[in-house]
Symmetry: C2
Subunit: 291 residues, 2 copies
């Protein structure tokens, strides 16, 4: 299997980006990713205030998928995520939902071992590794890799994990996938502004999806389908994620809008992905059992 | 066990409300509840537009708990929820996050049987019964029972289910609990504006909590602790629920704010309860394993 090195990264999802790598439709590759600080946070003395925003969220790529055309859908099947041996978490008066309550910035570096991270002597945290940044080139303009959007990007969604498929709308030929910002652990919300930030090696299979035509990303887990939307407020993102899910239910069941809307209310779960990136992100999931 | 009949209901959580029932500290009672339409929706021909808002969310009570004083905390241990035999779901151009997309209002009445509700011939829905309205008198003024707030009220939170304890701050002596609006099924968000609305009989044990002093409701499930907040926007509610959880972690672990905040980011799950009541409601959960 080819290894795509994290020597070649981008800090933007850009309409005019050039491919760093090219893969065949259906090819499996190992994508090496740097942590979200480009590996520059090495000790607890390195605070958020010392990080240059230009170093935030390096995403390995862009990766062009051969045969994938604008208007089609890219499927990124995440087969394995192997995290690094340490993870960084930070808080700062300039970061997170309770930023103004932080008196002094702090950086913690946790050791990652045997599926756990040691937070303190008597508290170890179960890992839930997932890919924070996973996106494609937008139709026009460019977004920093710390922005989420219709192109994916900084999705910070725990379901982008081993065993899941992330579907992204290709806005340009080849899609131009880039990924990085793996979190070894994070809860819904990422409230303090970071998860447990780590370098990683992510095994993915990249292919053209024949079935879905999308405006925004979707995720398929072994048990559920999820819509995803980012917007200026959680309320706006919630609306968009619901809209997409109702349409998805309609397409699967052939029902009218009203039936699908009521079904979404009964069995759809509208959940927060993150509340700290420049845009807020919400997803809606529905069990495959109902589709 | 005493049965508290749904003949005595209130449509307001009011600072000056008088007790309909009195129970001893630690008493178990069966609380009968009407559905959220006061039982007036009987056929698919009864649309949301025909419902008087004065009939919405009858809450059985108020129930005064003896010995509970203002400033203390009421614990409502939900031991059993027995749903009625039918559930109502509605959509309307005047209801829910996608209200403007609804062309014609619709009412569906589903049969509830053996833990499931039949949505269509080939689709039956698993139930997750929970108490939608559960609250106490506020310190001042009054709130309709379809409002959520610091007093609880229309919490519409799926974790207010069998096996959970809902903790409510008592703002007046006796607390003046009222409950109703049981949903046989609902997903996070309640996006179309209703769950599967049903009458029910809810067995609860009411007692004074000796351990918690609260500003807003909390929920304890067998596996997790949850904070809860309602506000004008999801973003504001998310902030409050996070704030409460960080303080809760601090009180349990004796750590400073910054450690608790980072821990909340790694292992706390910030989730949407509902997006359709006049205020938006968000909760944050943390596994008991970490406390």
């Amino acid at each position: 299997m080819r290894v795509l090195s994290s020597q070649r990264v981008t800090y933007f999802f850009s309409a005019d980006s050039k491919a760093a790598y090219r893969v065949a439709d259906g090819e499996r590759v190992k994508v090496q990713t740097r942590d979200c600080f480009s590996g520059k946070v090495k000790t607890p003395g390195n605070l958020f205030e010392d990080v240059s925003m230009g170093d935030v969220n390096p995403a390995t790529g862009p990766i062009a998928v051969e045969g994938l055309s604008a208007g089609q859908t890219l499927c990124v099947a995440i087969e394995r995520i192997r995290c690094g041996r340490k993870g960084v978490i930070m808080c700062s008066p300039n970061l997170g939902v309770l930023s103004e309550d932080v008196r002094r910035p702090r950086t913690r570096i946790l050791r990652i071992e045997d599926g756990k991270a040691g937070f303190s002597d008597d508290l170890s945290i179960d890992l839930n590794p997932h890919v924070g940044v996973i996106g494609v080139s937008p139709a026009e303009g460019r977004f920093p890799t710390f922005h989420p959007g219709d192109h994916g990007g900084n999705m910070d969604t725990v379901d982008a994990c081993e065993g899941s498929k992330v579907y992204l709308p290709a806005f340009v030929d080849g899609g131009m996938l880039a990924m990085g910002d793996v979190h070894a652990a994070m809860g819904d919300g990422e409230v303090c502004g970071t998860g447990l930030e780590t370098s990683a090696e992510v095994t993915v299979r990249l292919s053209k999806s024949e079935d879905l035509i999308l405006k925004r990303p979707m995720i398929e887990t072994p048990k559920a389908w999820l819509t995803f939307a980012a917007a200026k407020t959680l309320d706006m993102a919630a609306r968009l994620a619901t809209e997409d899910m109702v349409k998805f239910i309609q397409s699967k069941h052939g029902t009218d809008f009203e039936e699908a809307y009521m079904l979404a209310s009964l069995i759809g779960n509208l959940r927060i992905s993150q509340v700290v990136d420049p845009l807020m992100a919400v997803r809606m999931s529905i069990s495959k059992r109902y589709l």
